[in-house]
Symmetry: C2
Amino acid sequence: MATVERTPDLGFLFAKAAHSLQTEMTARLEHIGLMPREQCVLSKALEGEQTQIRLAERCELDKTTMVVTVDRLEKAGLVERRPSPTDRRARIIAVTEKGKAVAEEGDALIEGIYADILGSLPDDERAVFANALARLVTDRLSNPPTCVTPVRRPRTS
Amino acid sequence: MATVERTPDLGFLFAKAAHSLQTEMTARLEHIGLMPREQCVLSKALEGEQTQIRLAERCELDKTTMVVTVDRLEKAGLVERRPSPTDRRARIIAVTEKGKAVAEEGDALIEGIYADILGSLPDDERAVFANALARLVTDRLSNPPTCVTPVRRPRTS
DNA sequence: TATTGTTATACTCTATAACTATA
DNA sequence: TATAGTTATAGAGTATAACAATA
């Protein structure tokens, strides 16, 4: 006897998944003294020396949020602000040796979580799920309609 | 030649999906004068008359959040607070005729969005994706570890 | 003593605006 | 005039505590 097919509550599922994952990442990153946003910035900064603005764009953060994030990273000795040789307004975010170590630790930690989550799915569903999720975000769920009271983004990503 | 398999950025994908969907729901519900949280409460209230506390539990809302939500719904004439016949502390949330109409409109609207989103996936991926997402939330992503600075939930769900 | 509903409040975080110094 | 970085502030919203009425 077939069960009644109900449309799954995507709003609830996405919200729950995002919140749980964010919580797990936050908890694990606490052990190495990073907040998820700092981990994101640090990791991106490691890929190549860039200005704050460039980093903010790549992390999809407001430039004012980037200021406080870099403040913290700098205070922790993980990055340095260096004057740009070509633009005296701009500052290059350079990752220190210590920052490099922490960033790599954080990257591995996050990758481990992702791998473990995907690993919890049956082998034959894993790739389909990952591809479908990526496609939804890229296609159907890109450019949502604007609303009068914009939905605030939760912290980090 | 096989492309390098990178672990997809689940944190980014879930956050983006949740935010985009929330934005889309907010935009569409604005047309019928509801916020997503109100729609959720109204819809659950329609399933049977319950106390505020019970409704709050089912919507996973704080009871103080429920107060302001019911305030708004009541002011809009969509629900009424009635004294519980069995517990003089409690109040039963009764949906009005107008509220019933709006709730059904909202339900249909949300269901339509979900169906459209799932419909954007290839036929052979749809069920796998929905099942995998539901399983992740139910299993691997339930009970995330607690962290020192708890991750705030964005509004609604 | 615990619970329902309410009110008040603290606190965090996002978003915006304004300012400086350069370009 | 526009942009990089900074600072300050407004505003929204969550979470918490405290209270009154009742169990």
